[in-house]
Amino acid sequence: MRALPGPGGPRAPAPLLLLLLCLLAAARPSWADGHPSASPVTSLPVREEMMAKYSNLPLESHNISLTEHSDVPVEKNITLQRPSNVELICQFTTSGDLNLVNVTWKKDDELLESNYMINITGSIMYTLYTVTIINSKQMGSYSCFFEEEKEQRGTFNFKVPELHGKNKPLITYVGDSTVLICKCQDCAPLNWTWYSSNGSVQRPKGSQILYIPVKELMAIRRANKKNVPLDVQMNDKYVINGTNANETRLKIMHISEEDQGSYWCHAVFQLGESEERLQLVVLSYLVPLKPFLGIIAEVVLLVAIILLCEMYTQKKKKQPDDGKEFKQMEQLKSDDSNGIENNATRHRKNESVSQ
């Protein structure tokens, strides 16, 4: 006897199918309404992750103000040496309607899409762009544009700290030693290096590295656990050290004529590099000797003239005095025999002598 499928058999998969349908129905709205490029459900955790990763970086804030009448593009230079989060704020004041103003941000002529906010308070429009700068790729110029009738532009320029050497050439002498100093304000570079070149202004590509920086040398020594044989000539001639993190000193000893030229100090930061040129001029000892001998000659001449003048005036004074004394002696001799009458004449003569 054959059993026929009853209504129980085909009725068993129906609840499962219903469940599937229900799930599909629930899931559909998210697909339909969601943004084709980034789904809010999945994109939020990524952004939070990024913020969490870089939230320990310092936060800086910089402002630029623009008006509709600004003729010249406004620029602001920002010096940065460590990775940090930077907020760039542009504010725009105009007499016209702020809703008609179009705001854009560009980095080095490349249009930026996201990460900026616009806020209108009263008659001022603020736009805020947050950027996280972690390496040299993010350094550059960021500009905000306000388009009304004219386009107004404000630019933030990011730079690594500049190095300061000496503007004027350093003078030194043959056989002497000298110290070249390079420093920067409130900075702590990862690395300092010195280069030397003779004659040219631009640092040539193949210019010689003078010396391995001290930190690296110490690392090499520790790794080898024995004395690294240094080039003796190098060690005698150049010594690099720095008392603070923000400066470096190059001491050059036993200077000769060939050491004249340009020296470059090079600092490496996390966000880029910076360098500065110093000039060394080597003179021989004869150069200051000439003015010195000139002054000595002048002194000897003046002393001779003054002493000769003094002797001359003394001789002049002595001659009439000698004459007067001789006369006085003669008169004394003759007066002795004459008597009291000549006392008066003697007194008069004494007076004339004392004058």
Binding site: T172, D321, V353
Partner: protein
């Protein structure tokens, strides 16, 4: 020798070759005081080259200043015994040798020795004899002559500072020291200008002088042999030193010496601490440097104008009072300084302080000459400048310690202000006591017998006639036998 003594005694010429002496002294002040101040321009170079900090290099300046003042008596002894010309020329050679040797230095210790000790000693041999020489050549226009001569330090600093900076840029510090050594050799030219002059006053012999001469004459008669001539030389030296430094026992001079100690203690820290104080109240670096330049320029103006002022007939008899007035006013300025907290208030302070600083610097040799007379002026000035040395050395570090301990400049400035006011009050008090004694004496003399009355009447008339000579004590002593000047 007899010929020279007979022919040359004159009154101070007040002009003629005197103006060449003023020019010479002006150059001496430039080459000594201005060069000392300009040495601090080298400190940045020394710090870089020898890798030392500021405190180590600043010792050079202290050593030079200290040596110049401490060895000032040595300078006056040398110029008294040899001659002013030889003394200053010797000093010039020594100072320039120190600078030239300094240009070859290989360590900071070498610089302490050459630039510090040798150059300082050379400056000491020049400074006080040159100033004393001006006093010998002038009497009526003494203050003006001193004003012009002392303005050399201010004008010299003003002119030399950029020149030294230029020399360092062109020739580095070694070349600059060499050329500066050549410049300082001009002290020999100044020495050649200092023609000796014998004044009438040099022939008046006080009692000690007389005793000394009779002693030496006795020795000459009694002992022609070589053993006893040594003793004679010694007593001669002792006697001459006794003669030269007899003014040390004068009460007036002792009062002046004590007041100079306090005055020198007070005046030096301002030049060191004005710029840091200005920076601490919010003045910028350039404005603080501007304050120092104002101080320097007004110092020069104060030198010359105050000198001219105190030569006027109305103020001539009150030079002493003008001196203590200038010192007291500087002290008052110090007391007001902690209350001045902004640039518009600090500028008038700089002007006032600078003016009266220049004023009393001009009057120090004048007042000293009035007290000791022109014969001992060289030695007296040596002692007075010697007394400047220790306070100059000690006062800036003490002020620095006070600033560090209290955290503000008020205590240091108040101390200096009170020191200067005490100095001027001491002088005023001493003068007052002297006047009271005189009036008391006249009162007593009037009460006693008519013979003395006659004498005192004569002495009153005598002192009025010779009031300009400031020898009232001497005249009263001659009139009243029992009167004790001290």
């Amino acid at each position: 020798m007899a010929k020279a003594k007979r022919a040359r005694s004159t009154a101070p010429p007040d002009g003629g070759w005197g103006w060449m002496i003023v020019v010479g002294c002006f150059l001496v002040t430039i080459c000594t005081r201005a060069v000392t101040r300009c040495i601090s321009i080298f400190f940045v170079e020394f710090q870089t080259y020898f890798t030392q900090d500021y405190a180590q290099t600043a010792w050079i300046h202290s050593i030079v200043d200290c040596m110049t003042m401490l060895c000032a008596p040595l300078g006056s002894v040398v110029s008294n015994h040899l001659s002013c010309q030889v003394g200053i020329m010797l000093g010039g050679l020594l100072a320039s040798t120190g600078l030239i040797l300094g240009s070859f230095a290989t360590s900071l210790k070498h610089l302490y020795l050459t630039l510090g000790v040798v150059t300082g000693l050379g400056f000491a041999l020049c400074y006080s004899p040159a100033i004393a020489m001006v006093g010998k050549y002038f009497s009526r226009r003494k203050a003006l002559a001193y004003g012009i001569a002392m303005s050399g330090s201010g004008i010299g600093t003003f002119v030399l500072a950029p020149v030294v900076q230029l020399l360092i840029e062109q020739f580095s510090w070694r070349g600059a020291l060499l050329i500066l050594g050549g410049f300082v050799l001009n002290l020999c030219v100044c020495g050649a200008l200092m023609r000796p002059i014998t004044l009438k006053e040099d022939h008046t012999t006080p009692e000690q002088n007389h005793v000394c001469r009779t002693q030496t004459r006795d020795f000459k008669r009694v002992s022609p042999c070589s053993i006893l001539t040594n003793k004679w030389v010694q007593t001669c030296l002792c006697c001459s030193l006794q003669q030269e430094y007899s003014f040390l026992l004068m009460s007036d001079f002792v009062v002046l010496a004590v007041s100079v100690l306090f005055m020198a203690y007070g005046c030096s820290p301002l030049f060191v601490y004005l710029v840091p104080y200005a920076l601490s109240v919010g003045v910028s670096h350039q404005q603080a440097a501007f304050l120092m330049s104002i101080l320097g320029v007004i110092d020069i103006i104060g030198n010359i104008t105050f000198g001219w002022l105190t030569d006027r007939r109305c103020l001539k008899n009150y030079r002493y009072v003008c001196y203590l007035f200038a010192v007291g006013l500087d002290g008052l300025c110090y007391l007001c300084l902690p209350m001045l907290q902004s640039l518009p208030l600090l500028v008038p302070f700089s002007c006032t302080f600078g003016y009266f600083d220049g004023a009393y610097v001009t009057l120090i040799p004048v007042v000293t000459a009035e007290i000791v007379g022109t014969t001992s002026l060289s030695s007296a000035l040596g002692v007075v400048y010697f007394l400047h040395a220790v306070p100059y050395l000690v006062s800036p570090p003490i002020a620095g310690w006070l600033v560090d301990a209290t955290g503000s400049y008020t205590a240091a400035f108040l101390l200096c202000g009170f020191s200067m006011i005490f100095s001027s009050v001491l002088l005023g008090f001493a003068r007052l006591v002297k006047k009271m004694r005189k009036t008391q004496l006249r009162f007593l003399a009037k009460e006693s017998d008519p013979k003395l009355q006659l004498w005192t009447n004569g002495s009153v008339a005598y002192s009025v006639a010779r009031g300009l000579d400031q020898k009232d004590e001497g005249s009263v002593a001659m009139a009243v036998p029992g009167y004790n000047p001290t």
